[in-house]
Amino acid sequence: MNAIIVSALLGVIMMFTSWGIKGEKSQKYIALMGLAILILANLSQLNGWYVIEYDTKGMLAFSRYGIYANTILFTLTFLYVWINGDEISKIGNHAADFYALFFFILCGASVLTSFDNLLMLFIGIEMLSIPLYILTSSDKTSLTSNEAGLKYFLMGAFSTGILLLGITFIYGATGSFHLTVPETGFKYEMFMRSGGLILIFVAMNFKVSAAPFHFWTPDVYDGAPTVFTSFMATIAKAAGFFAFMSVFQVQYQALGYSWTLLLPFVIISTLLIGNVTAVFQRSVKRMLAYSSIAQAGFMLFALYKPSTFANEGILLYAFVYSVASIGMFGVLIKMKENSIEGFNGLAKAHPLLAFVTTIFLFSLAGIPLTGGFFAKYYMINAILVAGAGLWLVIVALVFAAISVYYYFKIIQAMYFVPGEPALGEIQNTYPYKLLVLAVLLLILGVFPNLLLNYLYF
């Protein structure tokens, strides 16, 4: 509750900041401060401190897990703003408005981590999506940004329709919008209810860009301003996953055996399309878009069946993946062109940048000693504990090997191909900011429980 209220308030404050305070730097610092406050407010709920104590009448349910998920999202946003603040202000002259949108998105995300009612799911998703449409099309002069915005909007609205039909079906079958269906109305094993769940499944897959509902992802990520792609691909996506988890952790039994068919189908198509298509991209940005699809394939593992591994794993995965992606996009922003050739010879020109890029890529590829490894590890463990077949894991790992193929292309370009990197201007401190992310990944690569232990204290 604290998170929702404070983030909404902060959003409003940021809105007004754009009138009152002009300096982009100071706006950034206000946003950072706001985020810090947000994190504190969110965490203080654990100690029983509430901004407003209110009975949500079963709309929201606050759990330690949800609050921790919030914390992760807020922390990621903090890192994101800290690193990309200057880039954000370069797009248009609405930096404060963008920060406001971030806060609104975070508000939506907080709803998504704590909803207990499908209505709140719907509202939360819309709160997440609408600002994203805006962010995507925020570069008004760029045709690609326009195009991406419109594509995203049309498809997003369409998927909202599907989501609503699904919710309606469930309501028709159970007479309730509650996540945990009360014992009234019709009972389980209803065809309509399962049909509704599948429709929700489709809509959620769309939000987390799982194949075959991923089509918007590459275009939108590619078209959107890189700095916002970074946000969309990481924090927004993670929030979507938390929502996805919440729905299906409770409801997955309703689908019975079908679940063990439908989910693997989606997982495998996601991995296939994400990984295989990424192989051929010459644009790093677009490749990262496909790779984010592929990563979603791994994250879907957590949905298979609730377990500690799934719950912890999705947190770890979301965090690690986001950190690596923010870092990777952070490097990409500074490149003058997005092609892989742009990275040629980066190791010579800027060894530190090349090193952190390598760590990010390692983490994305899931190579041990980086956090990405444990993220993938938890996912595999989750699905095996859930009793799914080993074949699924093997297929996933084969695709992971393919993913190495395209991630390492960048490493090759940086280290082994001589050339002049198309590097834009970089502030002296910038690589060190990225280094913080890299170090974070390395630490999590050896001690993943540093992140997860907090779930239990």
């Binding site: 929702i4 909404a8 959003g11 409003v12 809105m15 209110y54 949500t56 009448k57 079963g58 709309m59 929201l60 248009g92 609405h94 408005d97 963008f98 406001a100 949108l101 609104f104 998105i105 508000c107 939506g108 709803v111 009612n117 209505l119 709140m120 509202i123 819309e126 709160m127 609408i130 600002p131 449409y133 805006i134 099309s137 925020s138 008004k140 039909l165 079906f169 028709g172 079958a173 019709f186 209803m190 065809f191 309509m192 049909g195």
Partner: protein
């Protein structure tokens, strides 16, 4: 056949025909107008169901505000009928077939749901659709989503400002 049924079928036919007309109209303005008619038909259904509040809101918000917005935009753009590009017939056919099969599947799902067979919808009667009970519930049980949707509006507003501002 009771009046109710006659009304129901008439409104349904009206709604479906108008909806189809939305698709087939070449002129976007006509489409908008047909869509408004669909909304009216749906509002009619709401009245049949004694959901008076929603019926009114539907007309005011949807048919009134939103559709007028659409109309304005279309007129703003001055899209002419002859300029309006059309998809190839083949693509359209595929679209129709896909939509049709989607409908078939959804109907199949409903048909499979034996639990709702023969269940009746309460027409005309019932107080839940009136403003008073709705308002009471909305501001007691549903005040949280209500407040949160205000945030949604705020963000939409910011967005419109960002995008709309030159």
């Amino acid at each position: 056949m009771s009046t109710l049924q006659i009304l129901f079928f008439a409104l349904s036919a009206f709604a479906i025909i108008s909806a189809i007309m939305v698709l087939v109209s070449k002129n976007p303005i006509h489409s908008v107008l047909w869509l408004i008619l669909v909304f009216f038909a749906i509002s009619g259904h709401y009245i049949l169901l004694n959901a008076q509040f929603l019926a009114i809101v539907n007309i005011i918000v949807y048919a009134g505000a939103i559709m007028v917005l659409f109309l304005f935009v279309i007129m703003l753009m001055n899209v002419k009928k002859d300029k309006e590009p059309q998809k190839q017939l083949f693509v359209k056919l595929i679209g129709v077939i896909t939509g049709g099969s989607f409908l078939t599947l959804l109907v199949a799902i409903v048909k499979q749901t034996v639990q709702i067979d023969g269940k009746q919808v309460m027409m005309k009667e019932g107080t839940i659709g009136l403003i008073h009970p709705l308002g009471k519930v909305l501001f007691s049980d549903y005040v949280v989503p209500f407040e949160i949707s205000s945030v949604l509006f705020l963000s939409a507003m910011v967005g419109a400002v960002i995008i709309g501002k030159k």
